[in-house]
């Protein structure tokens, strides 16, 4: 009777359940075919050695490993079930099971337990990622203590000192303002000394951007009217030579979004100071030249002062 009822639904000669195999196969193909650094296939960037980037990398690996266990568990259980219990010629009528309360409570608790573990690991590691460390020995000697801001509650480093940079996102460039007596800023490139804790105060003057150098840890949105914060500290490499890290705006900001790049150049502290002096000098000279040319223009066309008055103010 049962067999007759099921006749139109014949067992399939090519049973499914090869999903896992297909997936693993696809991975293998990708691994072989993928160019570039294979190390980055599975984990985020952290080549700089900045403690926050390394913290994120470690946290990711822990969560990813747990995720792989769940992934394999579900895929293998699914594939096994589909293959083992596919309809065969002599399949008996299946037992009509409607549930199993202890089992269901068990796997609900197991899922919850796993997430409690992930949450715990996250909170244990959060401090190392979120809170700036002090500069390492050999970093740039810093004079003034940093101020603390309320918006994202990023604390000051334990030493109370950091190189604090004001980051301003604009369509489509990044401006960096450095601390100190003299006026010092740069566009596109942020220049920093090795082994020195750099804290960033990030904002935008037009639309929302997102400041991100993948090798230096997480991104933070640059939002007009708000101040966002992050930090990094690039260790000095063995050869002591300049290192640079490229990044790209991560929030759609308009037509030039794909070309909204920025770069962090890290130098030995002495070279950083030399660069800072040169840059400040160049800025001063440029300002003087500007003033000079204005004076020259005003001298040549005295009436233009009146007309251009609104412009200049």
């Amino acid at each position: 009777m049962i067999r007759r009822r099921l006749r139109p639904l014949r067992p399939d000669p090519r049973p499914g359940g090869l999903l896992t195999l297909v997936l693993l196969g696809a991975w293998m193909v990708l691994l072989v075919a993928a160019p570039g650094a294979l190390a980055d296939v599975f984990t985020p960037e952290s080549d700089s050695g900045s403690p926050n980037a390394e913290g994120i990398d470690t946290l990711y690996k822990i969560v990813f490993a747990l995720g792989i266990v769940v992934f394999l568990g579900v895929e293998i259980a699914l594939a096994y079930t589909l293959i083992k219990y596919r309809m065969k010629r002599r399949s008996p009528a299946p037992a009509q099971i409607r549930g199993n309360t202890p089992l269901e409570i068990g796997w609900t608790a197991a899922a919850a337990g796993l997430l409690v573990i992930i949450a715990t690991v996250m909170f244990v590691m959060l401090g190392d990622i979120k809170n700036p460390v002090s500069s390492a020995p050999g970093g740039l000697p810093l004079g003034s203590a940093v101020t603390q801001f309320a918006s994202t509650d990023q604390p000051a480093p334990p030493s109370g000192k950091s190189l604090e940079i004001e980051v301003n996102g604009q369509q489509y460039l990044w401006r960096y303002d450095y601390p100190g007596e003299e006026r010092l800023f740069s566009y596109h490139d942020l220049v920093v000394p090795f082994d020195t804790t750099v804290t960033l105060k990030i904002t935008s003057q037009d639309v929302v951007h997102s400041w991100w150098i993948p090798d230096l840890g997480g991104k933070m949105d640059a939002m007009p009217g708000h101040e966002n914060e992050t930090w990094f500290r690039i260790p000095s490499p063995a050869d002591g030579k300049e290192r640079s890290f490229l990044g790209e705006c991560a929030e759609l900001c308009g037509e030039g979004h794909a070309d909204h790049y920025t770069r962090v150049r890290a130098l030995p502290p002495a070279q950083y100071e030399a660069w800072a002096a040169r840059q400040a000098e160049a800025i001063r000279e440029a300002q003087e030249q500007l003033a000079e040319s204005r004076r020259a223009r005003e001298a040549a066309e005295p009436t233009s002062t009146e007309i251009g008055g609104g412009e200049g103010s």
């Binding site: 296939v41 409607r98 639309v207 009217g225």
Partner: protein, 546 residues
């Protein structure tokens, strides 16, 4: 018996219809057309990204494609296609003769269609270019004065109204029009998910309706809700948008869960495992889904305690989702599994959605999100959820219910070919995108340099996307051919459990001449067993004299 009134024919009969089945078919067909349009947009983007520094499209065209693709797939395909399934099936599954408010039902379809048309008209002047999220201030008139954003606002209003009107209708129908004997504990699981879908729509969509109205007045009438130069705040937009936007994700996945919850017991020849747990987890997902919105904003300037709260609520919502997966596996376990195309797509949903679920938990760990937010890792994640989850569920539903809707079977051979092509194409396209994101490739960039090492991965992804497109077209071909040449289905080709299989295929205008009395979660199975036992016709055993 239902011949007393002449059935209207011709295309005019579609314009004025209030029949839930005709409206359902119009929903399904028009949303599927939007799906194909959105798919073509995706393929153009993939072509552009196949090579480093490609010049196929210019940046604003690319941003337009990004915005049109996302908006189309979400507002004109995934959300309304489930309204289409629900329109066709909820009254049939409940044993009702139509929806509670048939004319309101027609209104919600036409609002949707004209919302879509109003949006697509913008292609002829300037499509929106601020993404489907239209973040302010970029979407303010100071930066994008063109009409595209306004077309997008009109689309949000019309499709939003369509969804809310439809949701109210579903809620009224489900609460009031169940067949005699169908208590809450005997309602089909698909109907449970449509109930969750409808309540989420009613709760979440007003937030975005308010937000886009404020954006409209910011753009044209001098207000400054989101303008930081005049005291407004772009954070307000993001909060309002995601207060809608995250429930929207569950609006788009719950009905797919419902579809496969109907399919597994039928093709495993075994009742659903843990009916109550699945129904309860639907309610739990809908509830907690309202409380996780700021996990889209982990990189905005907010205190850590806010991030922590939203990370925890995101973990919590993963639990009922996991429970569903375990219950589906247990339903298949020790069953007699019949390998028909609906089962392939339903099993495909589990195996793909679990990847999206896991990457979702990874992204909920907010320090990790600081790295991965707005990268291709997130693109991969949403596609494992919305394609691997929702679209595989939609295709499972198409193969499962096509015989009921048209009276003809789809080709099994083409169906399986379509499934395998889509599965392989899908994974080729999106699995590698996790790695692209991990190695630092942001979303929504129209080009990337040769030096990043992303070119090979992008090429693989592009090849995969075309394979995926071919897989979809095989199903389109299958549908077109089977409409005329498919094998006759009969009332109940799958030996299914729910009431839509009790009536003819396609069902008559009044759905049921006899409304069956429901005695379990599987009323149709009860009727089949009774017919076998007593030898009487189905109509007379369905409603025995009490």
């Amino acid at each position: 018996m239902h011949g007393s009134e002449r059935r209207p024919t011709g295309w005019l009969s579609w314009l004025g219809t209030t029949d839930h089945k005709k409206i359902g078919i119009m929903y399904l067909v028009s949303t599927f057309v939007f799906f194909l349009i959105g798919g073509v947009q995706a393929l153009v983007m993939r072509l552009q990204l196949a090579q480093a520094d490609n010049t196929l499209v210019d940046p604003q065209t690319y941003n337009g494609l990004v915005s049109m693709h996302g908006t189309t797939m979400i507002f004109l395909f995934v959300v309304p296609v489930f309204a289409g399934f629900a329109n066709y099936l909820v009254p049939l599954m409940l044993g009702a003769r139509d929806m509670a408010f048939p004319r309101l039902n027609a209104l919600s379809f036409w609002l949707l269609l004209f919302g879509g048309i109003a949006f697509y008209v913008s292609v002829f002047f300037q499509p929106p270019t601020a993404g489907w999220t239209s973040y302010t201030p970029l979407s303010d008139d100071a930066y994008l004065p063109e009409g595209g954003i306004d077309a997008w606002i009109i689309l949000i209003h019309l499709t939003g109204l369509s969804s809310i009107v439809g949701a109210v209708n579903f809620i009224a129908t489900i609460h009031n029009m169940r067949a005699p004997g169908m208590g809450w504990g005997r309602m089909p699981l698909f109907v449970w998910t449509i109930l969750g879908y409808s309540y989420l729509i009613v709760l979440a969509l007003p937030a975005i309706a308010a937000a886009v109205t404020m954006l409209l007045t910011d753009r044209h009438f001098g207000t400054a809700f989101f303008d930081p130069t005049a005291g407004g705040d772009p954070m307000l937009w993001q909060h309002l948008f995601w207060f809608f936007g995250h429930p929207e994700v569950y609006i788009m996945i719950l009905p797919a869960f419902g579809i496969i919850s109907e399919i597994f017991p039928v093709f495993a020849r075994k009742p659903i495992f843990g009916y109550k747990a699945i129904a309860a987890s639907t309610v739990a997902i809908a509830f907690y889904g309202m409380l996780v919105w700021a996990h889209h904003m982990f990189t905005t300037p907010q205190p850590t305690v806010v991030l922590a709260i939203f990370a925890i609520s995101s973990f919590v919502v993963a639990v009922p989702t996991g429970v569903k997966i375990f219950n589906w596996l247990a339903t298949l376990w020790r069953g007699t599994i019949v390998f028909k195309t609906p089962l392939y797509f339903a099993a495909g949903l589990i195996s793909m959605f679990v990847i999206g679920g896991i990457s979702g938990v990874i992204l909920a760990v907010f320090p990790v999100d600081w790295q991965l937010h707005d990268t291709y890792f997130v693109v991969a994640h949403i596609h494992y959820v919305l394609f691997g989850g929702s679209v595989f569920g939609i295709f499972a539903g198409i193969y499962y219910w096509f015989p009921k809707i048209t009276g003809r079977m789809l080709s099994e051979g083409l169906g399986k070919l379509s499934f395998w092509t889509m599965l392989v194409g899908f994974n080729l396209t999106f699995l590698i995108q996790h790695s692209m994101g991990l190695s630092g490739m942001p979303r929504r960039i129209y080009r990337y340099p040769e030096t990043g090492g992303w070119e090979g991965w992008n090429l693989i992804s592009t090849i995969g996307s075309f394979l995926l497109g071919i897989g979809v077209m095989i199903t389109v071909y299958n549908i077109v051919v089977s409409l005329r040449k498919g094998q006759r289905a009969g009332n109940d080709p799958w030996k299914a459990n729910t009431l839509e299989w009790f009536t003819q295929s396609p069902p008559p205008v009044n759905n049921f001449d006899v409304v069956p009395r429901v005695r379990s979660v599987e009323p149709m199975r009860d009727i089949r067993n009774e017919v076998q036992k007593t030898g009487k016709p189905a109509g007379s055993v369905a409603q025995p004299v009490a």
